[in-house]
Assembly symmetry: C2
Homo-oligomer: 471 residues x 2
């Protein structure tokens, strides 16, 4: 077993989650606990918490996976004509159907759709579909990009702190060096990316002998929920140019923006407007947005200004794993090329999409308000993505109690929250944080019918916890 594997840590499924599994088993065995069911707020898994899949996507998949249905009139009469046509068209572009390996880079018609989607989103010329790689969600494409970038243990990759732990885990596996840059909890109540902080982290790593060649930006932020302004994005691009950094733009929450005064802006669009030649890998997925199709494993990576020799190597890496799930690819096609005004499926699609996004927006607001009403908890706006990342002030006694158990105070707290309420949150130490500060990440995905009750229960425990450990 290599040291790199032992070193890789993945908090989203870490110790708190392992304890939750044990408690789940106890509940199934009929043991009495302080709660009757677990409330999983640890991972962005919308359909587990009752979000319904989009009918358009599921109807299309059922026809593509079982094309016999297309020839049975009494079945097909239940399907809208547009999804029947789309399914027939996709089947005509799929020699061998969904059961054959596709091109390792991804099904050509799906890559064309992704390209058109990007063009529309950015109001710009669509990228060449040859620059699109389809993948089983965003995680494998991040792994591929990092495989290309980390050529020796001296390579540094800049990542935000707090970060989504996929990055630190993969950098450890690839035996690179993580160069963390701290995000600031600005008094304006959002998480801010500060260029001087980035420069500081970069300079320190260079002084230590690292070849820093890339920077990860997560926008909208996970776990921090901020939505970057155009000005901020421009400054980050200029910083990357100055220091010759490849940009890894994790843009999987591009549809998840809740604040009226914010909108998503891609790194791609901004690089092109600045007429720069920055190298950008950008990642998107079927698992987030309003699709929430985590289990289907679909996603893409778009390459901007990346050398063709690197592209050839990426294709080789993907070909070793043959191809991503064809059903995940097809679901991505349906998600990024949805029905438009005038099509029979449009009304239902729009209603479902709006329903999901409006609900997320309301829940983001409830989360912000309720967390800020809790003793010793302070939460920024949840501008986007699917998480709140509040800070918690702990008493010296609480910090000492945690220390006695050999763990940081936020892990101790998260475990206590779990044991007493069944609510699963991830301690901030799993994402990284400014030394001396403590946080936890909680998803905003619980159903609206119960989110207030859950947060009331959380609040009651939180307040009694701080009372108990009062200095």
């Amino acid at each position: 077993m290599g040291q790199n594997i032992l070193d890789a840590d993945y908090a989203v499924r870490g110790d708190v989650i392992i304890r939750a599994s044990q408690l789940e088993k106890s509940l199934q065995e009929g043991k009495k606990l302080k709660f009757t069911e677990l409330v999983p707020c640890n991972i962005g898994n919308p359909q587990l918490l009752g979000q319904k899949p989009l009918t358009w996507i599921r109807q299309g998949l059922s026809l593509l996976v079982n094309p016999e249905l297309l020839s049975i009139p009494s079945i097909i009469s239940h399907y809208p004509s547009d999804i029947i046509e789309r399914s027939k068209y996709l089947l005509s572009r799929l020699p061998g159907g969904v059961g054959a390996y596709s091109d390792s880079q991804g099904i050509p018609v799906v890559r064309e759709t992704v390209s058109n989607y990007i063009g529309k989103r950015d109001q710009a010329t669509p990228p060449n579909p040859d620059n699109i790689f389809l993948t089983a969600g965003a995680s494998p494409s991040v792994e591929t990009a990092l495989s290309c970038l980390i050529s020796s243990p001296k390579v540094g990759v800049m990542i935000p702190i707090p970060q989504y732990p996929l990055y630190s885990a993969l950098i450890a596996l690839k035996q690179g060096h993580p160069v963390g840059y701290y995000m600031e909890e600005s008094p304006d109540q959002y998480w801010k990316l500060s260029i001087p902080r980035m420069q500081e982290a970069y300079d320190k790593a260079v002084r230590e002998g690292y070849n820093v060649n890339s920077i990860v930006i997560i926008n909208p932020g996970n776990p921090t929920g901020q939505v970057l302004s155009i000005e901020n994005i421009k400054k980050i691009i200029e910083f990357s140019q100055k220091n010759r950094l490849v940009i890894l733009a994790d843009e999987v929450y591009q549809d998840n923006v809740y604040m009226a005064n914010k909108e998503f802006r891609s790194f791609r669009k901004t690089v092109q407007e600045l007429k720069l030649d920055s190298e950008v890998f950008s990642f998107h997925t079927l698992s987030k947005g309003f699709f929430g199709e985590c289990g289907l494993r679909g996603g893409y990576m778009e390459l901007l200004n990346i050398d063709s020799e690197v592209k050839a190597q990426i294709l080789k890496l993907q070909s070793i794993q043959l191809c991503p799930s064809t059903l995940g690819q097809i679901a991505l096609e349906l998600a990024l090329n949805p029905p438009v005004v005038g099509m029979p499926s449009y009304e239902r699609f729009l209603e479902e999409k709006t329903g999901i996004l409006e609900s997320l927006k309301r829940k983001a607001q409830v989360m912000y308000e309720m967390l800020n009403s809790m003793d010793n908890v302070q939460c920024n706006f949840v501008e986007g993505a699917m998480y709140a990342m509040p800070s918690v002030r702990f008493s010296l006694r609480a910090i000492q109690a945690a220390k006695d158990l050999g763990m940081p105070a936020d892990k101790f707290y998260a475990l206590q929250v779990l044991e007493n309420t069944g609510i699963i949150v991830v301690p901030g130490s799993g994402f990284g944080q400014q030394p001396g500060t403590y946080h936890f990440r909680i998803t905003i995905l619980s159903p609206e019918s119960s989110i207030r009750e859950i947060l009331e229960r959380f609040k009651a425990f939180n307040n009694s916890f701080h009372q108990q450990y009062k200095d």
Copy 2:
């Protein structure tokens, strides 16, 4: 870009295939070539060549992906009652349906099915489902196993020569050392695994300072098509015990045995009968057998006698990628837990299964006969799997002509076959072979309606090639 990535080579999708893509484009543009369509015999992709999916699997998937269908009587009346019941049961075991992330190790009910399948297959106690990891086909599980085994560049992994190039590619990526053991083209017309050859390869690597810790066995063989006898398997296990090697048993072709006097025997069963504690990783997939569901990406890895600390690390590695496709997992459940006598779907299932396997058996025989009728070509029995791996004797002139172009003779030959007939085969040099011998791999998957005609065309070209380059 790391040297390990540049070093990884993957012949199944190598230069011959790249040239085939160019020719495909030329055909689409209406250019006149010596053939009107390409015949892809390079990769085990059955449904691309017309093999039909099993109705049972596809019906189940359509209900699981679109459970709305279950509530529409005029639709559901077209489905047999057993697949409706199974789908409802599986949905009851899937909180969040197929759109939620599953356990990283795989959906519990699917792991239970895999465990029962193994128990029945081996007529033995089923393994604990905790020892089963579900994966997106066999390739990712091989990658995970090799990640655990290769802890430094001094680690040697024994692989057969010829081998399926997944192994050499992954060992290069993980920066391990491949220790090839030659298989013998025995006069009995099958490819033989020889223990003295294995010992020789092992000793040489140890003398060179490598820590050889594992051995890959592919049974039934890819590309070599042999089906190992119990005696042979026993000797391999004893060899592994003696040299303390972890066994990687690639058993993805366990349903693909065509010779009346041969049957598949698992390494697991043999280790247990010998009452040994050999450590075994065994791999299986939805892509081969009579399922041929390559595009759905389903498979499993079973761990026998593997330390629980290693299991914990494997779970962590899988959790970084969240989970394999839920639809691939569900398809695996349906494939390994098919309808049995008395169930409404049984007749159709049996007819489809038998049809596919009998057809493969006939094609294995045709392939063997036709290849042996070609000048300078000699082919062993195709005992199992989906490939023939005949040897070709080249004239000195042919070898020189290839050398002038900077390539081995079998690659030159495969490219000539492609340009002149449209048939895509993979040169033996992509799999490894005894120095001074030449081979190619050809799949037995072309439709029965055309396989003879294709091979006649191949034969005509082959004979003229050898005539042209006669010494």
